[in-house]
């Protein structure tokens, strides 16, 4: 199943599907992406609190955090690395998370206004002048990405810098990433690059490395933003096996139809079966 979301959405003639490959094995946790995203997209400040969770002060993706760098501290060595501190075995996992721009996007499916739409690049974007703030997309997203902004009452999330893509620029986060942990490009090409990188990292002794979101047969049809992780997804706050919520919708409508029939028949029986 190699569905091309832009074609499926009715774009006859469209550019190649664009996306992100985030290689967390080279992330240094500098948060340049978080800052560049906020600057370019004018995303408001979302609280300056000390969380006590390592160096993570943004905590998770939300309406006001479109890139989020996770800091995971683990008592184990990374590959064959030398520590220089006796037998200390310790590794940092850092990962910049973002909207996955799913092939089958639940947020887009459930939006009752058509505010969320598929772009010609195959990405998913919210139009804040159409959104009515119903909040349906928020619990629908299986990755916990999209949120409703308190100040405006409408939904917001990463647009994959739709405005920059249109003029041939790469997204602000990818542009600012000093290690190229965030790579932007044509999705097909990124997938090849990611497969090569995975081999390389494994060969370097990091046998816990794996790709996440690259598989077009997964529950969301593969994502437009995928990752090279060094541990299980849940360690980074990602769901291990997300499924687009609308996959079960036919069965939900069928059950609702049956329930409506039961309701009608039940009240009919209750009425005509009554003596008084």
């Amino acid at each position: 199943m190699t569905a091309d979301p832009a074609t499926e959405s009715g774009y006859a003639d469209h550019p190649k599907r664009m996306g992100f490959f985030t290689d967390t094995s080279i992330c240094i946790g500098c948060k340049a992406c978080e800052v560049a995203c906020k600057e370019w997209n004018a995303v408001p400040e979302d609280g300056l609190a000390f969380t006590g969770m390592s160096y993570d002060n943004t905590q998770s993706l939300s309406a006001d955090t479109w890139r989020h760098v996770a800091f995971v501290e683990q008592p184990r060595p990374l590959g064959h690395q030398q520590h220089g501190f006796g037998d200390m075995d310790f590794r940092w996992l850092m990962a910049s998370d973002v909207c996955k721009h799913c092939t089958h996007a639940a947020c887009l499916d459930v939006c009752p206004t058509g505010s969320l739409f598929r772009t010609e690049f195959g990405t998913v974007v919210v139009q804040d002048d159409v959104c009515n703030g119903c909040g349906y997309c928020v619990p629908a997203c299986p990755y916990g990405v999209i949120g409703k902004r308190e100040s405006t009452g409408v939904a917001a999330k990463c647009t994959l810098c739709y405005d920059r893509l249109g003029v041939g620029q790469e997204p602000a986060c990818a542009k600012s990433c000093p290690t190229d942990s965030i790579q932007f490009g044509e999705l097909d090409e990124l997938r090849e690059r990611a497969a090569r990188r995975l081999e390389q990292v494994r060969a370097a002794g990091v046998d816990s490395a794996r790709l996440y979101g690259h598989d077009p047969d997964d529950g969301v049809g593969g994502t437009g933003a995928f990752f090279l992780l060094l541990d299980e997804p849940e360690v980074y706050g990602l769901p291990p096996d997300p499924v687009v919520t609308t996959r079960d919708l036919p069965s939900m409508w069928r059950q609702a139809g049956i329930a409506a029939a039961v309701l009608l028949a039940g009240i009919a029986v209750a009425t005509w079966g009554s003596r008084t």
């Binding site: 390592s54 639940a106 459930v110 703030g133 119903c134 928020v138 919708l249 309701l263 008084t276």
Partner: protein, 328 residues
Amino acid sequence: MDDDPALRPEREATVGSAGGRRRRGEQPMVPPAGFRSYYGLPVLNEPTWHDHDIAGYLFLGGLAGASSILAAAADLTGRPRLARAGKAGALCAVGGSLYALIHDLGRPSRFVNMLRVFKVTSPMSVGTWILSAYGPQAGLAAATAVTGLFPRLGRAASAGAGLTGAAVATYTAALISDTAVPLWHGGHREMPLLFAGSAMSAAGGLGMFAAPVAEAGPARNAALLGTAVEVAAAKAMERRLGPVVAEPLRQGKGRLARLGEGLSVAGALLGATAGRRSRAAAVVAGAALLAGSACTRFGIFHAGVASAGDPRYTVEPQRARLSAERRA
């Protein structure tokens, strides 16, 4: 090695904490195996819906829809006072549910905004259209019943409201199930029947509450039947969810669901016994049934929100699914 629970990132982990003290061969204390998360933070974003608006909406929508059906049936069998009670109740309930919906959206124009598209993949969009078809008919049915004007128009509106009412009472189950919220999504097969049963018992309760004993026979039966459907669907849903995902139904405000079941059963039984003769008993039974239906909806709402707010309920079932696939 990756699944070693000792590697769980802990809030108290500090740089170098694994160095020094732990010696080779010494086993560290490990938390219960299997579940890891990012500092215990939720994977999903919690629904932004307010409980009094949306849980209230789920209850009122069910009450309105089922009351319209009961009223239409009462019309057809010559029970005018039961019919009038059902129609007036349905109009108040649908008015209240519209208020709740618009209050949650913030502005009335936002409701109209939803009518710009029709999407079957969005139960909220479908529901908006269902409500737009149902609301005016329910209003017309109530107005003609109360004033006695235009009886033929009234009969048509009452039949129309009864038919669309069935959709109003059940689509909300698809609405909340079509999310990633573990408890709501996991219960998607049973949720519509549960909602239909709860709506039927609420409408029965309203009928007993507002109509004279002599005409309330259908209401008493509907309460019994509805409660039976609700309880059976709730049991089946809990079984399918399994002990982990169903847990929020037994904790905190999720326990309202259990209370709701109890109230419905008590109300239905009281209505079917003492409620046949005594007006006072019928009123008490009706009130219990209405309260029971409201508690059920609030309980399911809160349990769902709690299941979204804890990463366990997202990660554990997905992990279980993955390992089952791997074994197969």
